[in-house]
C-alpha cells in the first residue's frame, strides 16, 4: 500500500508531538524529581567527604570492587537471558503440557527474597549442607564451593531471571505472528526463524528485562552478603554499618551511580535503531501453538530442573526448618499480623507505583525526546541503588522537610515508590506502546475531554500493564528489607523483617514460617496475573 510509503520521520513527528497533554508532562517531571532524591542525597553527603574518601576511589581495591560487581551483573544477566528466553517461548508459543502451571511456577522464584534463597542454598549445597550429607556416603565428598562467585551467581540468576521472563512473555504475546509465518514461508526453519525474526523483534523486552536484572544484581545485598561475595552494595553497607562514615559511603554510592549510568547507556544504545510496534490492541490474532513433538520431554525436563532448583530447593529447605522448629516447640506468634502488614503495605505501594507510572509512560512513549529520555533514565536510579542509600536519603529529607512523617506509612510507601518504580513503568509502557494514539483521537472526536478519554479508553486498555506492574511491585516490596527496617513505623513488623531478625540470629527455624508465608502470599497475584493472560487468549 502506497499510503505507508512516504516520509516516515515526518509522519512519526506528526503522530507523537501533539499527543501529550501538559498535565502529564508536569506529573512526569515531578515524579522524575522524586526519583532523583537519592542522587541529591549522595551528592550532599559526598560534599562532606574528606580527601581520604575521595582518594579511596583511585585505589586498587575500589577497582577490584568495580570489576567484581560488573562481572556478577554481566554474568547473571547473560545467564538469566539464557534461561528466560527458552522458558518464555515454551510457555507462550508451544503446546507444552501444563503451560499455565509452568508459567506460574517459573515466575514464582521472584517471590523468594535473595537472602532467604541464599540461606537455603547454603543449607542445601554448603559445606555441611543436606546435599553434602546425601552425597558423602556415596564417596562424592566434594561438591563445588558455594561461597563466593558461584553461589552469588547461581542464587541471583535463579531469583531474578523471572523479571526477564515476564518481559519476554509480554513481548512474545504482543508480537505479530504473521512475522514468524512470513519467515517460515520464505524457507527459514524454526531455529533460524527464532533467532533471526523472533529474537530481534524481542529486542525491546530483552533490553528492558536485562536492565532490571543487571540493576537488581548491582543493588542486591542479601545474597552477596550471605554468600560472601564482595560487591559495591556490600561495601557500602559495611561502610555504613561498621564505620558510620556516611560521607565515604556516599562517595562509593556516587561511583555506583556511574556504573548504573553506564548500564543505562548500554541499554539505550540497544534501542536506538529501528522502531517496534506491537500489533494494535484489539486486532488480536493468536499464533498457532507450535507442536513440540519429540522435544516435549527434554523441554519438560529443562523446566523441571529450573523449578526444582529455583523454587523446590528453597521451599524444601524452609519446610525442613519449619518441621524442625515445630518439633522443637518454636512459637509462630505474630506471623499472621506480619503477613497482613506485608500484604497491605505492598498493595499500597503497588497501587501508588502504577498510578505514578501512567503519566511517565505517556510522556516517554508518546513523546520521544531528550527530556523524556532523561525522565525515564532517572526513574531507574532508585532501583539500582542499594536500598539502604534510598532509605537514608528519605530519612535525610523527611527529617529536614517533614519531621512528622519520619517512620510513618507515607514515607515508607514513598521509599518503595522510589525503589521499585521502574518495575511499574516498564509494564505500563509495554501496554501503552500497543495502544495506538488514534484510538484516543477517535474518542476525542466523539466529544470526550482528555481526562475522560484517559479514564474511559486509555486506562481500560492499559489494564494488563497496570495489573502486571502492580504484581511486580507487590512481589518486590514484600521481600524488601533495608528501607523497611529503617523507615517502618515503630512496632510495624513485616514478613521480611521477621525473616531477617530471625535469621540474623541464626534462628532459621523461626525464619521458615514467615518465609513460606511470603511465598504463599506471592502465589496469589502471580496466579491471577498468569491466568488472566491465558483467558485473553481464549
Amino acid at each position: 500500500m502506497i499510503a505507508f510509503g512516504f516520509p516516515f520521520a515526518r509522519r512519526a513527528q506528526r503522530r507523537w508531538s501533539s499527543a501529550v497533554p501538559a498535565p502529564a508532562w508536569l506529573l512526569a517531571i515531578a515524579i522524575a524529581a522524586v526519583m532523583a532524591l537519592p542522587l541529591v542525597y549522595l551528592i550532599v553527603r559526598a560534599l562532606d567527604a574528606d580527601a581520604d574518601a575521595w582518594n579511596a576511589l583511585g585505589r586498587a581495591s575500589t577497582f577490584r570492587l568495580l570489576g567484581r560487581t560488573t562481572l556478577l551483573a554481566a554474568s547473571v544477566t547473560v545467564a538469566s537471558l539464557t534461561l528466560a528466553l527458552p522458558i518464555a517461548w515454551l510457555t507462550v508459543r508451544t503446546d507444552l503440557p501444563g503451560r499455565r502451571v509452568w508459567s506460574v511456577l517459573t515466575v514464582l522464584p521472584l517471590a523468594i527474597p535473595s537472602y532467604v534463597g541464599a540461606l537455603a542454598f547454603v543449607a542445601a549445597f554448603g559445606p555441611r549442607g543436606s546435599i553434602h550429607d546425601l552425597l558423602s556416603p556415596l564417596g562424592l565428598g566434594s561438591i563445588p564451593e558455594i561461597y563466593g562467585f558461584p553461589g552469588a551467581f547461581l542464587a541471583l540468576t535463579l531469583f531474578t531471571f523471572p523479571y526477564l521472563l515476564l518481559m519476554l512473555r509480554a513481548g512474545l504475546r504482543g508480537m505479530d505472528p504473521a512475522l514468524e509465518e512470513a519467515s517460515r514461508s520464505l524457507g527459514a526453519g524454526s531455529w533460524r526463524t527464532f533467532f533471526t525474526v523472533v529474537v530481534p523483534q524481542l529486542r525491546v523486552p530483552i533490553a528492558a528485562g536485562s536492565l532490571l536484572v543487571a540493576l537488581y544484581v548491582v543493588s542486591d545485598f542479601g545474597a552477596v552478603s550471605i554468600l560472601r561475595y564482595d560487591t559495591f552494595t556490600r561495601a557500602i553497607f559495611i561502610q555504613y554499618q561498621s564505620s558510620f562514615d556516611r560521607a565515604a559511603a556516599a562517595v562509593l554510592g556516587l561511583e555506583l551511580v556511574g556504573l548504573v549510568a553506564l548500564i543505562l547507556l548500554l541499554e539505550s544504545l540497544s534501542r536506538s535503531r529501528g522502531r517496534f510496534h506491537g500489533r494494535g490492541a484489539g486486532t488480536a490474532r493468536t499464533a498457532t501453538l507450535k507442536p513440540l513433538r519429540r522435544f516435549r520431554w527434554p523441554a519438560l525436563a529443562f523446566l523441571a530442573v529450573v523449578v526444582v532448583v529455583a523454587l523446590g530447593v528453597p521451599v524444601g529447605v524452609l519446610l525442613h526448618w519449619l518441621v524442625r522448629g515445630w518439633q522443637a516447640g518454636e512459637p509462630f506468634a505474630g506471623t499472621a499480623q506480619a503477613a497482613l502488614n506485608s500484604a497491605g503495605v505492598s498493595a499500597a505501594a503497588g497501587l501508588v507505583a502504577v498510578l505514578a507510572a501512567i503519566p511517565v509512560a505517556i510522556v516517554t512513549v508518546r513523546h520521544r525526546s531528550l527530556a523524556s529520555g532523561l525522565i525515564e533514565r532517572l526513574s531507574y536510579l532508585g532501583f539500582a541503588l542499594p536500598g539502604i542509600v534510598v532509605a537514608l536519603a528519605l530519612v535525610f529529607f523527611a527529617l529536614r522537610v517533614l519531621p512528622g512523617l519520619y517512620q510513618t506509612w507515607p514515607v515508607l510507601i514513598f521509599a518503595y515508590l522510589v525503589l521499585f518504580f521502574p518495575l511499574a513503568l516498564g509494564a505500563v509502557r509495554t501496554s501503552l506502546v500497543q495502544v495506538r494514539p488514534n484510538i484516543e483521537e477517535a474518542a476525542r472526536s466523539l466529544g470526550r475531554s482528555p481526562p475522560r478519554v484517559l479514564a474511559t479508553i486509555t486506562v481500560p486498555l492499559l489494564l494488563p500493564g497496570l495489573l502486571g506492574g502492580f504484581a511486580l511491585v507487590f512481589l518486590t516490596v514484600m521481600k524488601e528489607l533495608p528501607a523497611t527496617i529503617l523507615l517502618r513505623p515503630i512496632e510495624f513488623d513485616t514478613l521480611a523483617v521477621d525473616i531477617w531478625s530471625a535469621s540474623s540470629e541464626a534462628f532459621f527455624a523461626r525464619a521458615a514460617a514467615p518465609a513460606l508465608l511470603l511465598v504463599l502470599v506471592a502465589v496469589l497475584p502471580m496466579t491471577v496475573l498468569i491466568s488472566r493472560e491465558y483467558r485473553s487468549e481464549r
Partner: protein, 389 residues
C-alpha cells in the same frame, strides 16, 4: 455510481458545513499544507484526492483539531473552530472521524462503541442478564429518559449501517467491512456537523471495496451528513464524492465535480493523476488542433490562447478511450503492447514520431503485437501549453 447532482443545489441558503481559508501547516522545514481553501455544502461529500504525502491527511487532522494550523481558519457550520485567536478542541467541534484503521475501542462492544459519543453514561458492561436488568432499571431512574434515548439512537444508527445483529460483538470478532461500518456508525451517532474519513477503504480488499464504497455513500446520503474523505484512489474519489478536490504538493490544484476533473483537468499533473492520459505535441489551428494523428477538435483549453500570429505549439491531452485503431497493413503506427483485462483492453501503439499512444478498446477487438494500424481520435482534446522539457 452516478453523481447526486441535487446535492449541489440543496440548502442553498444554509451556511456551508465546512469552510477552510488559507490553511497552512509545516512540520519542521517540510511544508505539508500550503494555503488550502475549501468549502463543503450541507449534505455534500467531498473527496480530497492526491498521491501519498501531499498533505491530505494533515488537512483532515487540521479540520478535526488534532493539529493546529500555522495560519488560516476553519469554520464548521459557520462557527469558527480555528483561526486567529480561536481554537476549539476536537471534542467540541462536532466532527465525526473515521480512521484508516477504524480505531474501534477494543474493550467495548459494537453497541458500546457506537454509544460512546452519545452524552449519556457509557453502556454498562457485564453479563447479558445484568445488562438487561440495568437497562430496565435505568429507565425508571432520573436521567433514565436520556439513557433510553441514547439506546434508541444506538439502535437507529446500527440499523442504518445494517449491523443491528452484531451489537453485542467485540471489535476483534468483526470482518473488515463490518468494522468499517461500525466506525462509520460510531462517527454518525452523535449527529456531527461533518464526517471526516481518512483513507477509509484502504484496509479492505479490492472486491469488498467497491461494495462497501457504495454502501458508505448510501449511508452518508441517508444520514444527510456532509463528509470529507481522503483517498489516493481516483476511482474511489469519483464514485463516492459529489465534488473532488485534487491536492498536489500541499495545495489544492483543482476542485470540481468528477466529470469536470476528468474531462477538464487544470494541469498536466492532475490530468495524469486522475486517469490515463497521453500528451501529443500539436499546433493550434483556430478551433482545432493538428497532431500526428490528424486534426482533433478542442474540448477545453488550459492556459492556451489564440494568437494573431501563426499556429502556437500546444500539448493535446487525449484519454485512451478516445483513441480508435483500425488494422491496416499500410498503417503508420505499430502495436507494441496489449494488456487484456476482460471487460476491456489497453493497446499501446508507437506512432511514426516514436511517441507512444494508448487506446482503451472493447474486449472483442483483436490486435496483435507488431501489427500495423491507423490511429484516430473521437471527441475533443484538452490543450496545455507546451512543456519546455
Amino acid at each position: 455510481m452516478s453523481t447526486d447532482l441535487n446535492a449541489d443545489h440543496r440548502d442553498a441558503a444554509a451556511p456551508p458545513a465546512l469552510r477552510c481559508e488559507g490553511l497552512r501547516k509545516a512540520f519542521g522545514r517540510a511544508l505539508a499544507v500550503h494555503d488550502v481553501s475549501l468549502s463543503v455544502r450541507q449534505g455534500e461529500i467531498l473527496a480530497l484526492l492526491g498521491p501519498s504525502g501531499v498533505g491530505k491527511t494533515t488537512c483532515l487532522r487540521l479540520i478535526a483539531g488534532f493539529e493546529t494550523p500555522d495560519a488560516g481558519r476553519v469554520a464548521i457550520n459557520d462557527r469558527e473552530v480555528v483561526g486567529p485567536g480561536a481554537f476549539v478542541p476536537p471534542e467540541h467541534r462536532r466532527v465525526g472521524m473515521v480512521f484508516q484503521d477504524y480505531a474501534l475501542f477494543p474493550h467495548l462492544s459494537v453497541a458500546a462503541n457506537v454509544r460512546y459519543g452519545l452524552d449519556a453514561a457509557g453502556a454498562p458492561r457485564g453479563d447479558r442478564r445484568l445488562r438487561r436488568w440495568l437497562h430496565a432499571a435505568r429507565n425508571r431512574l432520573p436521567g433514565g429518559a436520556r439513557a433510553a434515548a441514547a439506546d434508541a439512537r444506538v439502535a437507529e444508527v446500527l440499523h442504518l449501517v445494517a449491523l443491528s445483529r452484531l451489537a453485542d460483538r467485540y471489535p476483534h470478532e468483526l470482518s473488515g467491512g463490518e468494522a468499517q461500518r461500525v466506525a462509520l456508525a460510531r462517527a454518525l451517532a452523535p449527529g456531527p456537523a461533518l464526517i471526516l474519513l481518512d483513507e477509509p477503504f484502504s484496509n479492505l480488499d479490492s472486491r469488498l471495496r467497491a461494495a462497501v464504497r457504495s454502501e458508505v455513500r448510501d449511508i452518508l446520503k441517508r444520514a444527510g451528513a456532509a463528509a470529507v474523505f481522503v483517498t489516493h484512489d481516483q476511482e474511489e474519489a469519483f464514485t463516492l464524492a459529489d465534488r473532488v478536490a485534487v491536492m498536489w504538493d500541499g495545495r489544492i490544484a483543482q476542485v470540481g465535480p468528477p466529470e469536470e476533473i476528468y474531462h477538464h483537468p487544470a494541469t498536466r499533473a492532475v490530468a495524469a493523476f486522475v486517469g490515463d492520459a497521453d500528451f501529443l505535441p500539436g499546433r493550434l489551428q483556430r478551433d482545432r488542433v493538428e497532431t500526428e494523428i490528424g486534426l482533433i477538435p478542442i474540448n477545453h483549453r488550459r492556459g492556451v490562447h489564440d494568437t494573431s500570429t501563426g499556429q502556437p505549439a500546444v500539448q493535446a491531452m487525449i484519454r485512451p478511450e478516445q483513441v480508435r485503431l483500425l488494422a491496416a497493413p499500410d498503417g503508420p503506427a505499430t502495436v507494441v503492447k496489449r494488456d487484456y483485462f476482460g471487460h476491456d483492453q489497453l493497446v499501446t501503439v508507437r506512432l511514426p514520431s516514436g511517441a507512444l499512444l494508448h487506446a482503451r478498446l472493447g474486449p472483442e477487438e483483436d490486435f496483435r503485437v507488431g501489427g500495423r494500424v491507423r490511429v484516430s481520435a473521437r471527441g475533443g482534446a484538452v490543450l496545455f501549453p507546451p512543456t519546455d522539457a
